[in-house]
């Protein structure tokens, strides 16, 4: 009996000591985390901040990590911990939201532009306007105006701009859409070079359709055009026709306006009448990289992956539509400050430090992003990050009056987009006609407003 008891006690002690924390190492990550969560005066009077942004690949994660280390040294009195978070498919936002709900979210985090309103109106992110007003030399005009309009929107007054009394964060970077071209395929099809057409000002919907048809004629498994199934690609066709998702003050659905429908109709024809496009809903990237797609619509973030292909490729801006523009988007996301942070001033310092020209240049050198600061230096530097040769196409997109990806202050963007995504998918796959779509889309989508 005593022997047994002894054995039990020994095992219990061993088990307990197996679980015992390591000998207290000052920089153990677990330790740091606890101090970040309950910031009770970390060692040396330093303020511990955690920040997070979404990398799309391992290289990006590494660059952000090195940026974090660099800023950690640079910023006096602040200790930084970088958390990569998931990637787009790895539920970055879902996890972030859960953590906000539980109060364990980092102090500073990145969110896509469309989410700003949802986070701001729920009081989850801090209004930085007062802190910004006290910061000498800070100006909202240093960044692209599209994102800044959304980031300075004051939900109480509806005011936007420098004096609105609201500042929700600063944009990390921006991107526009381009068409990635398989130049070998285009040449084989005997199509005209879109880059030359664009330079000559002849790159419009008709020219685009002509190229797409010629490429498609090369074989049953070769497509002229490919795009992935989300609001970005189908939105450009609507924008280019002079339509768009919302009315001018973004308070109601505009998907059934004649212009929006014209854009959708043109796109639907690409899929169902001319059949030049990779079927809607299929991921177009694998066939493009397998050399089976002539023109692939995507943002700057697709560049690193495409750099590995073996054929000749380049990029060109989107073709101009009936409204005279290409209807491009200005995609952006912003660093925002957790409303529950214990150190708002330090967090604001970090947000600024993360969006300086130097840091942005570092990030965009990887090739996935375009700096969000409006400056000639930034653009000139960006143009050198080749391939693709024609980096100018991205900048042309920026200067072609793009529609800024925007939050929905008057309604729920996730609700709106879930209705819209499903119905557009039905349209592009022929489950629904354009008339059926037009008849009911807005009565359904308008439920996303005024909740």
């Amino acid at each position: 009996m005593a022997k047994k008891l002894f054995i039990v006690i020994v095992i219990a002690v061993l088990a307990l000591s197996a679980c015992a924390p390591m000998t207290p190492a000052p920089q153990a990550p677990a330790q740091q985390e606890t101090t970040a969560q309950q910031p009770a005066a970390p060692a040396g009077g330093e303020v511990a901040l955690r920040w997070r942004t979404r990398p799309d690949n391992q290289e990006e994660a590494n660059v952000y990590k090195s940026i974090s280390d660099e800023l950690d040294k640079q910023l006096q009195g602040i200790t930084l911990t970088y958390e990569p978070g998931g990637s787009e498919t790895a539920s970055y936002q879902d996890v972030l939201k859960t953590e906000i709900g539980a109060g364990t979210a980092p102090d500073v985090f990145w969110i896509p532009g469309t989410d700003v309103a949802d986070f701001a109106t729920r009081g989850l992110i801090l209004n930085l306007a007062d802190l910004a007003a006290k910061t000498p030399g800070f100006s909202v005009d240093a960044f692209y105006p599209g994102p800044m309009r959304a980031l300075t929107h004051n939900p109480q007054t509806g005011a936007e701009g420098a004096g609105s009394g609201a500042l929700w964060g600063l944009p990390r970077d921006v991107s526009t859409f381009v068409l990635y071209l398989n130049k070998d395929l285009l040449a084989e099809a005997g199509a005209e070079d879109p880059i030359e057409l664009a330079k000559a000002g002849k790159w419009d919907w008709n020219a685009f359709l002509d190229v797409a048809k010629k490429v498609r004629a090369l074989g049953s498994d070769i497509y002229g055009y490919g795009a992935n199934a989300w609001w970005g690609p189908y939105g450009t066709w609507m924008n280019a026709a002079g339509g768009g998702f919302f009315n001018a003050d973004r308070t109601a659905c505009n998907l059934d306006s004649p212009q929006s429908l014209e854009g959708l109709k043109f796109q639907q024809d690409l899929y169902l009448v001319h059949k030049v496009a990779v079927p809607y809903g299929e991921d177009s990237e694998p066939p493009f990289r397998a050399g089976k797609v002539g023109m692939f619509q995507n943002g700057r973030w697709a560049t690193p992956g495409i750099r590995t292909v073996t054929f000749n490729w380049d990029v060109v801006e989107l073709p101009k539509g009936p409204a005279g523009t290409a209807g491009n988007w200005l995609f952006w996301g912003a660093y925002v400050v957790n409303a529950k942070t214990k150190h708002p001033e330090e967090a604001w310092k970090l947000v600024q430090a993360l969006t300086t020209a130097e840091i942005q240049a570092k990030v965009s050198a990887m090739g996935t992003n375009i700096p969000s600061r409006v400056s000639k230096e930034a653009i000139d530097a960006f143009l050198t990050f080749t391939p693709p040769q024609n980096n100018q196409a991205f900048i042309n997109g920026l200067q072609d009056n793009p529609v800024a990806e925007g939050p929905l202050w008057a309604g729920s963007w996730p609700d709106f987009v879930s209705v819209m995504d499903a119905r557009v998918s039905a349209l592009m796959t022929g489950q629904e006609t354009i008339e059926q779509f037009a008849a009911t889309i807005c009565s359904e989508a308008n439920k996303a407003f005024g909740k």
């Binding site: 949802d118 199934a229 998918s425 009565s443 359904e444």
Partner: protein, 554 residues
């Protein structure tokens, strides 16, 4: 008081019985005092459970005193309960404060070092198992067995040496010496001692314990680890979830009682008559509230069905359709294969192992593989179809067009594609379950039937199927319950999850979207409870239908 006057056989027991009432009085007072001190802070919400717990312990402890003095067996039950719970609370609290639970993270750091030794132990097990090959050489068998046992022991010992944090032990000891920790430790030891004092056989006899009472106590004691954990990690959260479903909780602040609003919105349907089958729904139903869900024609009249939450109904339909595809697809081949495997042909063990393989593979990993196989441009499945069609066309001079099915991106096939994958994954497990059921059917029955002239089909229908019924119920029910909760494969394989056009939106996925993407925890909880009811009803029907042969009756 008559019982108390009986002479006690041993002085130790008398001492225990003298100390215990005092102890319980102290415990009652201390618990009540702590509870009362915390009472004003009840508004902080989360303190409710510990306060109620403390007051309950105080009550129980106080109630135990007179019973013990009267040597009533109830006193023993109460005393044991209080001391047991007290011991658990102190011990777990101590472990928690000492960082034993969060320390698992650190253990993981060292665990990798120990893993090779654990594998060594596993190897030892394999050696031991190999001993069965020497069934006819007992001596050698024993030697191999002992060698295996030795390897296991050495492996485990090395494993422990490798994972224990030796340099951390002094720090651990120091930590234990902190006053709060020492106090808890002392309290735990006291509770344990008191428990033992009441538990020991002489005290039990003095407390007039009979067999039935002893059995009750043993039963509660045996059940307690499971039951307490079950209460804390299952029943408690369950009740909270039920409560949440009656609120509009958004996961951050607001948590207002809204009654049945969530359920009403979820289940709100309307039907209206249309003057023509193509009339716009907006003309007959209030599109500010309802979305058109479906339209149908009955006796020449057309109707439209509107739903306040269209997506919920779509997800319900998808889930049901998914079950209707996935369950038969996984159960019927399993039944078929198990009948072949039940024969005594050579190689059956091999095939059984092969079929079992997909069920041990991680769903996330398997989904990624199938996503790649389903790729319509470069995937193997479409390539297989293309090759097959070319063969057919070549062999018979046919002209079948290559369908180039867009498995995951077409609304027509996406759900089917996911269901096929899920069926593929669960089939092997079901096969093994069926096989087990088949092996329980006495061979005599088949022999008798053969003598009576039954043919193979007859034997299958009249012997195999009826006798396999309990297995079938079990297999179908578990597969169905799993299928009802499909989430991971859809989440991984479809883009956006639930797409295209909501064709793969399952109930759990919809719940996830509401709870974790749209800040609607209350609503998500309501969906969860509706899902639970759906599963409950389906399971009930299953069991009802097969009442006779069920082996799972309580």
């Amino acid at each position: 008081m008559t019982t108390a006057t009986l002479p006690l056989r041993k002085p130790a027991t008398a001492a225990w019985l003298a100390v215990l009432p005092i102890w319980h009085l102290v415990v009652a007072l201390a618990a009540a005092a702590t509870g009362v001190i915390l009472l004003p802070r009840l508004s902080e919400g989360l303190l409710l459970v510990p306060v109620v717990g403390l007051l309950a312990v105080a009550g129980l402890s106080a109630a135990a005193v007179p019973y013990i003095r009267r040597r009533n067996h109830r006193g023993r039950v109460l005393s044991l309960a209080v001391n047991y719970l007290g011991f658990l609370a102190c011990a777990v609290g101590l472990l928690h404060l000492m960082g034993a639970f969060t320390g698992i993270d650190d253990l993981a750091r060292r665990f990798g070092r120990g893993l090779p030794f654990l594998l060594l132990a596993f190897l030892g097990y394999l050696v031991q198992a190999y001993a069965d090959h020497f069934e006819y050489y007992p001596k050698r068998q024993r030697r191999v067995q002992e060698a295996g046992k030795g390897i296991i022991l050495v492996g485990l010992a090395l494993f422990f040496v490798a994972i224990v944090n030796w340099p951390g032990l002094p720090a651990l000891a120091l930590k234990l010496l902190q006053p709060a920790h020492l106090a808890l430790l002392a309290l735990a030891v006291l509770f344990a001692a008191m428990f033992w004092g009441m538990w020991r056989q002489p005290t039990a006899e003095a407390m007039h314990v009979n067999n039935a009472r002893a059995e009750t106590l043993s039963g509660l004691l045996f059940l307690s680890p499971n039951f307490l954990g079950f209460l804390l990690f299952f029943a408690g959260p369950l009740l909270l979830s039920l409560y949440t479903s009656f609120t509009n909780w958004d996961a951050f602040g607001t948590r207002d009682w809204v009654g049945l609003d969530n359920y009403a919105r979820l289940l709100n349907l309307t039907v209206a008559r249309l003057s023509s089958p193509t009339q716009l729904a907006a003309e007959v139903i209030d599109v500010k509230v309802y979305d058109e869900l479906a339209r149908f024609t009955l006796f020449g009249r057309s109707y439209v069905v509107g739903a306040e939450d269209k997506l919920f109904w779509i997800s319900l339909r998808n889930t049901v359709v998914f079950c209707l595809i996935a369950v038969p697809l996984s159960v019927i081949p399993a039944l078929f294969l198990s009948n072949i495997l039940n024969s005594r042909l050579p190689g059956m063990k091999f095939f059984r192992a092969v079929y079992f393989i997909p069920s041990v593979a991680a769903v996330v990993g398997v989904s990624l593989i199938w996503q790649w196989m389903y790729n319509s441009a470069v995937g193997w499945i479409n390539y297989g179809i293309t090759v097959g069609i070319n063969l057919l066309n070549g062999a018979f001079g046919l002209d079948i067009a290559d369908p180039k099915i867009r498995w995951l991106s077409s609304a027509d096939t996406a759900l089917l594609a996911v269901a096929v994958m899920v069926a593929w994954q669960t089939m092997g497990f079901n096969t093994v379950l069926f096989l087990a059921g088949l092996q329980n059917i006495p061979t005599v029955l088949y022999e008798a039937a053969t003598v009576d002239g039954a043919d193979a089909a007859g034997r299958f229908r009249h012997i195999t199927l009826p006798l396999l019924a309990p297995t079938t119920v079990f297999v179908v029910t578990t597969t169905l319950i799993q299928a009802f909760q499909v989430f991971e494969p859809i989440f991984i394989m479809t883009n956006p999850p639930g797409g295209p056009n909501n064709a793969t939106l399952s109930m759990v996925l919809y719940l996830y979207q509401n709870g974790f993407q749209r800040f609607r925890q209350g609503y998500a909880s309501a969906i969860a409870w509706v899902l639970f009811l759906a599963i409950f009803v389906v399971t009930l029907i299953q069991f009802r239908r097969q009442r006779g042969g069920v082996a799972y009756e309580a």
